[in-house]
């Protein structure tokens, strides 16, 4: 069954003077996925995010959002279907949580009953706490939750989150990530971030931008698996005591790159050595120390490492 496309970006270019902020960038976003738009600072992801949110005009390329061709700014119908969570909190400080949600609910043209129902639901999902608290009295984490709730009050089909998890506590982060994973069942989420770990944790699909160009894209898991197969990986062994760790280090150092830190031994190897027969051979080698080993872990490459490796190889 063919997947439905929520956003289609085709050969979009944007110039600031002589600088190519975006250089023929294309990608597609399937519905009901969390799409990560990644890149370091100046990569072009903010420019792309602004184009996707209708804030920035572009002359070259085609952008289609929820089947609607985007020329420059959003049409009113598109504004009903797309919501944005800005990087900045962007709420009315002197109003309460309820007032903010209610005000933006009206901005989406909702009736009072609908607003009340949605506020109840969002409160349940995001644990907003006392709705009569003013925004200025909330912690950063709660402000972020309310900011997401405000974006969702209109029940959009597409949610664009621009660096929306910056500066929040672990509890809020965990709640939001759990919430977004649940949310993607009914909505498509575009998530721009420069945090690779965040994207790895959250995104189904990622697109790397670098110096205005798309350098890589794909499903997050597939990218990592492929990289792990084709590139160097690590095996981490934690011993019960340092003596055993030292013995194993001596045993392996001629054949593998080994580094020891306290009771933890990290073994680097080329990907070719991690096929099944090699892995069995390796385990046989350290079999005698099995009583001294607490855990053995194969460390997969992170998105960050993959990204750095790609731009290094591409010479970008």
């Amino acid at each position: 069954m063919e997947k439905e496309v929520a956003v289609r970006v085709s050969n979009v270019s944007k110039k600031y003077g002589n600088l190519n902020a975006l250089d023929f960038v294309s990608f597609e976003i399937e519905k009901n996925t969390i799409f990560g738009l990644l890149g370091s600072n100046g990569a072009g992801k903010s420019t792309m995010a602004h184009i996707l949110t209708g804030l920035l005009s572009f002359k070259k390329g085609i952008v289609e959002i929820l089947g609607e061709r985007l020329w420059s700014s959003y049409s009113r119908s598109l504004k009903r279907r797309v919501a944005i969570v800005p990087q900045q909190i962007s709420l009315y400080d002197d109003l309460t949580i309820y007032d903010n949600l209610s005000f933006f609910g009206k901005a989406y043209g909702l009736r009072r009953k609908e607003i009340l129902a949605r506020i109840r639901n969002l409160d349940y999902m995001l644990n907003l706490g006392d709705l009569n608290r003013k925004i200025k009295n909330l912690s950063g984490g709660y402000q972020r939750r309310v900011s997401i709730a405000v974006a969702l009050i209109g029940d959009p089909e597409l949610l664009i989150m621009d660096e929306a998890l910056v500066g929040i506590d672990l509890e809020t982060r965990s709640i939001i990530i759990k919430f977004l994973r649940e949310l993607k069942k009914t909505k498509t989420i575009i998530f721009t971030t420069h945090s690779m770990s965040e994207a790895e944790e959250l995104c189904d699909y990622v697109c790397f931008l670098h110096k205005g160009k798309k350098v890589m894209e794909g499903k997050t898991e597939e990218l990592i698996e492929n990289f792990a197969i084709n590139h160097n990986s690590k095996i981490k062994i934690i011993f019960r005591d340092t003596e055993s760790a030292l013995k194993v280090k001596k045993l392996l150092r001629e054949e593998y790159g080994v580094s020891l830190s306290n009771r933890t031994l990290e073994i680097e190897s080329s990907s070719a050595e991690y096929n099944v027969s090699n892995m069995i051979r390796f385990l046989e080698k350290i079999r005698v120390f099995r009583g001294d080993i607490r855990t053995i872990e194969i460390i997969k490459p992170s998105l960050g490492e993959i990204f750095l490796d790609v731009i290094k190889k591409e010479g970008l």
Partner: protein, 536 residues
Amino acid sequence: MLFKVIQKESKQLFSDKMILFIAIIQPIILIFVFGSSFQGSIENISTIVVDEDQTTFSGYIVVGVNQSDFFETVSIKHDELNQSIQMVNESIVRAVVHIPKGFGSKLNSSEAGEIKIYIDSSDYIIFNTLSAAQADILRIALENITRDIVGDIQTEKEQKSIQIDEIKELFRQLQKESTFLEADLIKSKEEIEGQTEDIDELDEKLNSIKEAINGQLESLNNITDALDDIIPLVQSINTTEQQKISTIVSGLQTIQSSLDQIKAGMSDLSRQLEDVKLASGSLGVSGDVEDRLRNMDSLLNKADTLSKSINLDFNKLDKGFFAQPVITSAEGVHGDIKYFDYLSAGIISLVVFFVGVIVPALNVIVEKRNNTLYRLSTTPARGSSIFVGKFIVFLFFGLIETAYTLLLSVFWYDLRISGSLTDALIVLFLLTCSAVAIGLLLSSVVKTLQQGLLIVPLIVIPAFLLSQTFFPGDIMPELMNKLSYMSPLTFSTHALREIMIKGNPLNYQSIDIIALGAFTLVSLILFIISYRRIKY
């Protein structure tokens, strides 16, 4: 640390080009507006002269008004006082100088003549200036009269001095003849024996004639000298120097009476000569003596005829004008006003305008800074709903501020509101509309709160200085007068003065109302255009 703080603050301050631009441009604008708006002098105030008297005296007053720097006569009428005062009421002209019927005749009959100046008292500065300028009219009138008198005296002096010189010459001849007559009489005395007593008597009479002739000559010289002396005195005349005026009047009267005395002296001389003729005839003196006496008689007749022809004509010299001071009085068409009443229209406008501009400006700037405006722009809510909503709230806020300001002024300082309070509120409502629209327009241009806090006074203060609150537009320099109509405060201040001081109804202020509406509309249109170009 101190150095680091200075370094950091300096970097932040000087990195905002807009703030630097405002900091440079602000003193230029403020000093220019302040300096130029307050440069005008209070002169050429449009005035109607109603001369019901139409006499020489009233003519001098009309000329006095015409020539005064304070007044500019736009019309001279002979009646229609009430219509003229109505024109002051409507501020079409600023003053009416009224010279009532009988003004001249009162002066002629040594009574005080009264002129009245009706002044537009809705303008405190003009009222006070023109009240003080009454003396200027009299000063100029008196200067003109003085000039005419001096002219008269000089003309009379020039014309009559020839005749006086001729009389003098005749008297000199008479002197000679009398000397010769005396010699003849001495000779006759020798010829006519036994009548020496009679001849002595005749000689005595002749001496008396000689003395009279000398006396007349001295009087004539005195008149010439007096005419010469009185001219500088008249020229130095001043309205306040009543004593000097009296001296001139009495000097002129003395000259005239000297002339009269000379004329009377001629008759005496003639009679004395007749006596001598009779006495000499009865004595049978020589024919030479008789001839000489006839000759003297003929000379005296000529001098008499000449002296009668000399009559100093000072008809233009209206002594009454000097003797009786002219009383002037000023009346404010709108009654007496306090300086507070005069300024209050502008001050209340300023309060309303400042609040009306700064509240929406800062509100939108803060929304831009907090990104809430951007967030709202991503919702399907219409921009018009957002800004009309804001506009209504700021308007309501402005109205509360207006009512509050008015109440304070009325209860604390007994602010004069001659007209309808509702009309005043309507004007302030319209001013609030334009202020809010201007505030919104500024907010769309300004990027930061600091810029907003600097640019709002940059708009409000010049608008206030130009608003004719302190200085009436008709005496401002022309350029500044024209520029003042770029400020909505000019129109609100004018309309409020019409209502609060003059008590005029709102429909008299249609131009002000249209102007305030136009400010609102234009600012809103510019704001909408500018808002669409906002980059988040």
